[in-house]
């Protein structure tokens, strides 16, 4: 046990102390949050900061209302008189004095069709907004011309579907939370198993390549060495994930109430409802641990049978596919619904973390499916460790060319 502990500690300390670890621990969440925040910020900013819009109203009835609607949405819009010619407005657009202009005419009043003239096609946000404001204004005017009761006018606010679930009671917030947690969990599982698995491969390969393993193996059995290594890298991964989780919890527990205090008008209770529960987090940990052991042994075996980084990249392919396929399937069925066969594929132990976890937390599969997947995974961890351990034992001391599949089978049989 002391040997496993020594290997574990070495692996852990040597990794956690590197600049790479510290950097990635800080940089990955900063980059992820940053890129989401930045793209949202840029989208809004790009829409707002653009130049002025103009509006010509040939009907004489729509202009003010539409301009007010657009102004309310944050646009700088100027209503120009009918006497300013279209040529003049076109020129102002081409000379970059204004971004573009909206033309409202009789046809708009009849059918809601209107022209927007600009050098650049309007973005989605602007298009939807303009259409919404114009159609609403037209409807308003048309309805007020006829003698309509207030009840019908309310329809303008748009209809709404209210969903009533039969059977088990799940609130809408819970449901959205489940899907969001599942999706985020699938991404975290995919990335962490890939990343930390690759660390194991790297570590095995390095030791084999510089022949330290020959000295180490004179005192430690290959099984213990492999176990210590996997536990060491796993502990490092847990440390990193733990730091991230702690930061997220800190933001959740301190940040949200602070935000709520400063912005009393915003309804933040919904955000709180969307946060994943403790059960979902524990399940994530369970799938991570089982999945990590599963893939780490595979990666260790791949590392042991290769001699160079290039070789390892090729030999790695089947293992990477085992991660990539479920990830793709998950992307096809983000809300955990749709294809029933994917639910069954989620029982395949190598696919389970990425496929079954989101299904489990969004409640789209029966609980026994989840339990079964965990049982399968435990069995698979044992079987994989056994096979990989045998390949590892022979592989780490083997120099020369990479073994063929047939040789691998022989290693497993005879080791």
């Amino acid at each position: 046990m002391r040997q496993v502990w020594a290997v574990l500690r070495r692996e852990y300390v040597e990794r956690v102390r590197t600049k790479g670890f510290i950097f990635s621990t800080i940089a990955i969440p900063v980059l992820m949050l940053g890129s989401i925040g930045l793209s949202a910020f840029m989208a809004v900013r790009a829409e707002r900061s653009e130049r002025q819009l103009a509006l010509v109203d040939f009907t004489g009835r729509l202009g003010e209302e539409v301009a007010d609607g657009m102004a309310a949405a944050g646009y700088d819009i100027e209503v120009v008189g009918r006497d300013v010619g279209m040529e003049e407005l076109d020129r102002r657009v081409l000379d970059d004095e204004i971004e573009g202009f909206v033309v409202l005419d009789e046809e708009t009043l009849l059918e809601g069709v209107f022209a927007y003239r600009s050098k650049d096609s309007p973005g989605r946000i602007r298009r939807t907004l303009l259409e919404g404001v114009v159609v609403e204004t037209v409807l308003e005017i048309r309805l007020s011309a006829t003698e309509t009761t207030a009840g019908v006018r309310e329809l303008l606010g748009g209809g709404r579907l209210t969903f009533e679930r039969l059977g088990e009671q799940v609130s809408e917030a819970e449901e959205i939370s489940g899907i969001a947690t599942g999706f985020a969990g699938a991404i975290i599982l995919y990335m962490s198993m890939f990343l930390y698995g690759a660390f194991v491969l790297r570590s095995v390969l390095d030791e084999k390549r510089n022949r330290v393993v020959e000295v180490v193996i004179s005192a430690v059995t290959p099984g213990r060495l492999m176990l210590g290594k996997i536990l060491g890298v796993g502990s490092m991964g847990m440390t990193q994930l733990g730091i991230w989780a702690a930061c997220a919890a800190l933001i959740g527990l301190l940040g949200v109430p602070m935000l709520a205090a400063r912005l009393p008008q915003a309804d933040l209770s919904r955000i709180v409802e969307l946060l994943p529960g403790a059960g979902a987090l524990v399940l994530l940990l369970v799938y991570f641990l089982l999945g990590f052991f599963l893939f780490a042994s595979l990666f260790a075996a791949v590392g042991a049978m290769c001699n160079t980084e290039e070789e390892a990249q090729q030999a790695n392919f089947p293992v990477v596919m085992l991660l990539l396929i479920p990830f793709m399937l998950q992307m096809f069925s983000i809300d955990g619904r749709g294809f029933a066969w994917i639910d069954w594929a989620a029982l395949f132990p190598f696919f389970s973390p990425i496929l079954m976890y989101p299904r489990a937390v969004s409640g789209s599969v029966e609980w026994w499916m989840v339990a079964l997947s965990l049982v399968f995974m435990v069995l698979a961890v044992g079987a994989t460790a056994w096979v990989a351990g045998r390949i590892y034992r022979v592989g780490i001391l083997m120099q020369g060319k990479r073994p063929t599949l047939r040789e691998l089978v022989r290693w497993v049989r005879e080791a």
Binding site: R211, S218, V220
Partner: protein, 313 residues
């Protein structure tokens, strides 16, 4: 406990159609220093790797400290592989502590002992530096410390002195001799005959994957005496021809006389005294290891041979 530290019997190892070691027998008594000699590519490293169970022989048996080289035995061995493998990113002291720990030593104890060794080999101030910051020679010394740190019963050193400057070679030689005083069995391979001659009690000569000769160095030399006497004296050398000696050769100040059936050492000595020359030196010459090797293997291990035989391990 058996009195034999290492026993190989009929060991053969082939790689494809290349035979690296062929029908090899060897016994190393406990407490001796044995030099495994031969040109590079002659099978030394393969033999050593089989002793450490890194390679398994195709035929024959390997015994280490009385049994198959399992983990229990190997943990009592200090092994320095031919390739100098180190954890480059690790700090020197921590690397040594790790090596001690996996052999079951207490962390605190290894730390102290490793530090003592580092001081002794002039590496004290490097203890907290990363291994990759050290020169190749220094790394080799660190690795060497790793092999003796846990007071092994048997040291197996593959070319331990290669690549070191003469001063450090001497330091390591003295440590090897010291370990031997402690009762450790030492096996080391080298292609430097002169060095082996200096420190070995026993030698085993290998050439082209076969054992040529092995045994106690002094005994071998006695057996291999060429029957030449080196004679140095002042005065006229005319008396030598009167003795009826056939092979007389001048080497520097000395005369090398090849003894015959009618001219043994005593007769020469008596003649010299009778002649009244003042003797400076009278020595029955023993052949050097190199000469013995050439005599048995047909060609001397030399650097070019090393390169030609190259990669085969």
């Amino acid at each position: 406990m058996s009195d034999t530290a290492v026993r190989l019997a009929g060991v053969t190892k082939t790689f494809g159609d290349h035979t690296a070691v062929s029908d090899f027998d060897l016994e190393i008594p406990r407490g001796t220093i044995l030099g495994l000699l031969g040109p590079n590519g002659s099978g030394k490293t393969t033999t050593i790797r089989m002793m450490m169970a890194i390679l398994l022989p195709d035929r024959g048996t390997v015994e280490l400290l009385g049994a198959f080289p399992d983990f229990e035995r190997r943990a009592r061995v200090g092994y320095l592989p031919e390739e100098r493998g180190v954890y480059e990113k690790m700090k020197v002291l921590e690397q040594l502590v790790f090596l001690g720990e996996i052999r079951g030593m207490e962390r605190k104890i290894v730390r102290v002992r490793a530090m003592e060794w580092l001081e002794r080999l002039d590496l004290g101030e490097w203890a907290d530096k990363k291994v990759q910051a050290l020169s190749k020679g220094m790394q080799q010394k660190v690795q060497f410390i790793g092999t003796v740190l846990h007071n092994p019963d048997l040291l197996i050193l593959d070319e331990p002195f290669s690549g070191l400057d003469p001063i450090n070679q001497e330091v390591l030689e003295s440590i090897v001799l010291e370990e031997r005083e402690r009762g450790t069995t030492v096996l080391f391979s080298t292609h430097l005959m002169e060095q082996a001659e200096r420190i070995c009690e026993r030698v085993c000569l290998i050439s082209k994957s076969r054992k040529v000769l092995d045994g106690d160095l002094r005994e071998i030399k006695r057996r291999e005496r060429s029957g030449v006497v080196a004679l140095e004296f002042e005065g006229d050398d005319g008396w030598l021809s009167r003795l009826g000696m056939t092979g007389v050769e001048r080497v520097g100040y000395a005369h090398h006389l090849t003894l015959g059936p009618r001219t043994d050492g005593d007769r020469i000595l008596a003649a010299a005294v009778a002649e009244g020359v003042s003797l400076r030196r009278f020595e029955l010459l023993e052949p050097s290891l190199r000469e013995i090797f050439v005599r048995h293997a047909g060609d001397a291990p030399s650097e070019p041979a090393l390169r030609a035989a190259g990669g085969a391990r």
